[in-house]
């Protein structure tokens, strides 16, 4: 194997380019938003490229006499003379004749056509459809990611992809793994929605470059950038639960090459909401402060970014009357508390070679520390994690640009400390301490002979100090039969280390005994799948249909078994089989002038072996429906959105051994959640009014035995629906360019 490696790397040693000239630039619209997917082509030739998420492009083999044509759907194409000396800043104008359809049809979330992976981009415009509030809620108008309440106490929302929990998704911020480790449960909630410029959702196995962790998909979040965000952005938000939020961002160009951005988010919820009259707050009270400052240097050959982020949050929930400063153990109330802090330094350094545009070096790094202090009732949780991450990527071609490769080395250090004390039933004191140190190497080969075919084959090997060698192969294939029909296939392996306590709020918010039968070992899963994307022309309007199927199966998984006993949570390594089949079909069409429809059906067959038998994983609907109607007038002066999510019945954990009256049925009923939003644009920004869960659907009695929170039957983890009812919100956005 090693020999093969060496051979592959030797083969890949850079061949010298013959001084072909290269242009680089950035394509944006008038609002300075990057035009992801804009095509840049040399006039009269087939030499061309596509702008990336940030609007950047690079085009090789350009002659000084050439002209380039830049085009993007819904925008007027532009023809320009090439410029080698500096980065070309290209601004496209919206095509006013076609604008009416485009404002709506330029679907704010689109499948990236040339990507070898099934990637969906959620643009800022799409994000504005759900003005509320953080990353986990940003997916509410997206069909591929499901969002649900984690339990009836913590107010946390979790996501799901391909029928599996969000912890199996690699969630990164600008390419650096971000929501992982101890952060995996609540991390999404702490990413402010107003900071996000765009989100990229990839389904199935991901690239090897970003690590071995992605199993079911990857979600990459791009924050607002110093170089292309508005000078001032202010946002105020309030909702009917009593939450107020203030967001501000500011960008400054310090010099020709340096620019900086400051992002600020603060929120406060001081009132107690108990819509289901069980004496427990549906959402905890919260105070949160989130600060980010980043700098960017853009030189001719060198590009560098560095940023710091600080986040502090205090949550107080549980029984009505429990307050921020209260002590869990001495309080007579059942309280919930989480005091959390996170500090991070992160950055990137990139170097390009002016005469060899296909060649580049890049280094990404991040150093973070976070700590948790809290618990629920008489169960306390303390945890901290220190992470150091570095990833060095070298990119080049083999012979010509049809054969490209990326290779590099990475290092991950992760120091975990988790401490769980329960003074309920009987005293439990468990400490999990773990220091992971994982150097790795990777190589990814990209074969792209033309625009129709892309093959990406990647391998990486990581040397885990505790668990030995991780060998991670990944393969992606894309073939476009014509402009209307594209197929994709992918397969890959993934690993991750589970964090037994943090990933299970049910241990905290129930009186279940914690039974850890054996030492957790890394989770290992394979994913394979494929998709078909079609674009048809119906009545001169595009109709798109995306169908995908993915299968994930676990070689090992840490099982959180709620079925063995309703008074215990049993944790052990998979003994038997565990898999997920996921099928989704989604369609988009402009059904009426300015009115766009997006509809999806999802089927999940997710089973794992719990309590000795293979059964459906609890709390997952087998069938789901999604519908989004979006209306927008010219220049988005008025915008209206309606989203309907139908969730089929879900299996609930076995409670047949509970005393009568505390038993739950085997299945939940099916239910619908409807969100709507209306916004009005102005020259200076916009105002918006919206409602979440406007049908006011609530799960009756989300908590088992809420009268006796310290009793044996208390369980707030049996949540399958919405805990909080209808929420109305309003807000204002103010921008200065």
């Amino acid at each position: 194997m090693n020999k093969l490696y060496v051979a592959v790397i030797l083969l890949a040693i850079p061949t010298v380019g013959l001084g072909q000239k290269t242009i680089r630039g950035i394509v944006t619209n008038m609002a300075n938003e990057p035009l992801y997917g804009a095509t840049v082509q040399i006039a009269g030739t087939s030499n061309g490229t596509i702008a990336d998420v940030s609007g950047n492009f690079e085009l090789q083999n350009v002659d000084p006499k050439d002209k380039i044509v830049i085009s993007y759907i819904g925008y007027q194409s532009d023809t320009l003379e090439v410029q080698f000396t500096s980065i070309m800043n290209i601004v496209l104008n919206e095509d006013s004749e076609k604008l009416d359809e485009v404002v709506v049809k330029g679907h704010s979330s689109t499948i990236d056509e040339l990507q070898p992976m099934l990637n969906e981009l959620i643009s800022e415009r799409e994000l504005l459809k759900a003005a509320c509030c953080n990353l986990s809620e940003s997916f509410e108008t997206n069909a591929s990611v499901d969002v649900s309440f984690a339990d009836a106490i913590t107010g946390a929302k979790t996501i799901m992809m391909l029928g599996l929990d969000g912890r199996y998704v690699l969630i990164s911020r600008e390419g650096i793994p971000h929501v992982r480790g101890l952060n995996s449960r609540y991390g999404l909630t702490y990413v402010p929605g107003t900071w996000i410029q765009s989100i990229d959702v990839g389904k199935g196995a991901g690239t090897v470059i970003n690590g071995f962790e992605s199993m079911t998909g990857q979600i990459n979040v791009e924050f607002k950038k110093p170089e292309n965000s508005e000078k001032w952005y202010l946002n105020a938000y309030a909702n009917s639960f009593g939450r107020v939020e203030l967001n501000a961002s500011h960008t400054t160009k310090i010099s020709e090459k340096w620019s900086t951005a400051i992002l600020l988010n603060s929120q406060y919820l001081g009132s107690e909401n108990d819509g289901n009259d069980d004496g427990f707050m549906d959402i905890p009270k919260s105070r949160m402060l989130n600060f980010l400052n980043r700098y960017k240097y853009q030189g001719d050959r060198l590009e560098s970014q560095i940023g710091i982020q600080y986040m502090k949050v205090n949550l107080a929930g549980g029984q009505l009357g429990f307050n921020f400063g209260d002590d869990l153990l001495s309080s007579s109330l059942y309280g919930y508390k989480n005091d959390e802090q996170r500090f991070e330094v992160f950055g990137k350094i990139g170097m390009v070679f002016p005469h060899r545009p296909y060649q580049s070096w890049g280094f990404q790094y991040s150093l973070s520390r976070q700590e948790f202090n809290g618990g629920a009732g008489k169960r306390l949780y303390k945890g901290n994690e220190i992470t150091a991450y570095g990833n060095l990527i070298y990119q080049n071609i083999i012979g010509n640009t049809s054969h490209q490769y990326k290779t590099g080395v990475s290092f991950l250090y992760d120091g975990f400390n988790e401490h769980f004390i329960s003074q309920l039933n009987r005293y439990i004191d468990s400490t999990f301490t773990r220091n992971e140190s994982i150097p790795g190497i990777f190589y990814e080969y990209n074969y792209m002979p033309n625009d129709d075919l892309t093959l990406v084959a990647g391998i990486r090997t990581d040397f885990h100090n505790l668990y030995g060698i991780y060998f991670t192969p990944r393969l992606h294939l894309r073939y476009a039969f014509n402009e209307h029909f594209t197929i994709r296939a992918s397969t890959g392996k993934g690993y991750r280390t589970p964090n037994a306590i943090m990933e299970n709020s049910q241990i905290l918010v129930s009186s279940r005994r914690l039974v850890i039968k054996e030492v957790p070992t890394p989770e290992i899963a394979w994913n394979l799948g494929g998709s078909v994307v079609t674009h048809l022309d119906i009545n001169h309007k595009p109709l798109s249909i995306v169908a995908d199927y993915f299968h994930t199966f676990f070689e090992n998984q840490l099982i959180y078994d709620q079925d063995q006993s309703s008074s215990a949570l049993v944790i052990y390594n998979l003994d038997g089989i565990s898999f997920a089949h996921s099928f989704q079909v989604e369609t988009q069409y402009e059904i009426y002038k300015n009115l766009n429809l997006k509809a999806a059906y999802k089927f999940y067959n997710v089973q794992m072996t719990t309590n000795g038998k293979l059964q459906q994983v609890p709390f997952i609907s087998r069938d789901r429906f999604f519908l989004n109607l979006a209306y927008a007038t010219k220049f988005e002066k008025w915008k209206a959105d309606l989203t309907w999510n139908w969730n089929g019945k879900k299996r609930l954990p076995d409670t047949s051994d509970s005393p009568e009256g505390f038993q739950r049925s085997d299945f939940s009923p099916d239910f619908s959640l409807v969100n709507a939003q209306l916004s009005r644009g102005f020259r200076w920004g916009s105002i918006y009014l919206g409602g979440e869960n406007i049908l006011n659907f609530k799960q009756n009695h989300p908590i088992v035995d809420p009268e006796n929170p310290f009793g044996d039957n208390f369980d707030a983890s049996m949540v399958w629906g919405s805990v909080a009812g209808r929420g109305i919100y309003a807000g204002i956005r103010y921008k200065i360019k």
Binding site: M30, Q76, F635, R683
Partner: protein, 112 residues
């Protein structure tokens, strides 16, 4: 109740449909697509303006507006605030300075 709601809705619709619309043609100093887009976008958010379309060949913008809410001079004034001449009204120089390079006098000279 339902009938009443539908009735009100129909009245609103007929009001919108019948709302008076006047048209005015204004000669501007726009020179490129960027100018066209800037002016049309800005006017879309101007009180009383229903629709606008700028013809780059003639540099004339046709604006449809509700005469009860605004008048032609107000629209001209607004165009000058964006940074463009409007008929005999001169552009606001501060706004003009802030326009992108391609929208300023002298840009595109080589093309003409």
């Amino acid at each position: 109740m339902k009938k009443l709601a539908i009735g009100i809705f129909l009245i609103m619709i007929s009001y919108v449909v019948k709302a008076q619309v006047e048209k005015v043609d204004i000669k501007t100093s726009a020179i490129c697509d960027m100018c066209k887009s800037t002016i049309e976008r800005d006017l879309a958010f101007e009180k009383g303006v229903k629709f606008s379309n700028l013809d780059l060949d003639t540099k004339v913008i046709t604006v449809e507006f509700n005469p009860k809410k605004t008048d032609a001079d107000r629209i001209r004034k607004r165009i000058t605030k964006i940074g463009y001449n409007a008929d005999s009204m001169k552009r606001d120089l501060k706004a003009y300075e802030k326009l992108p390079a391609c929208c300023k006098d002298g840009a595109h000279r080589d093309e003409h």
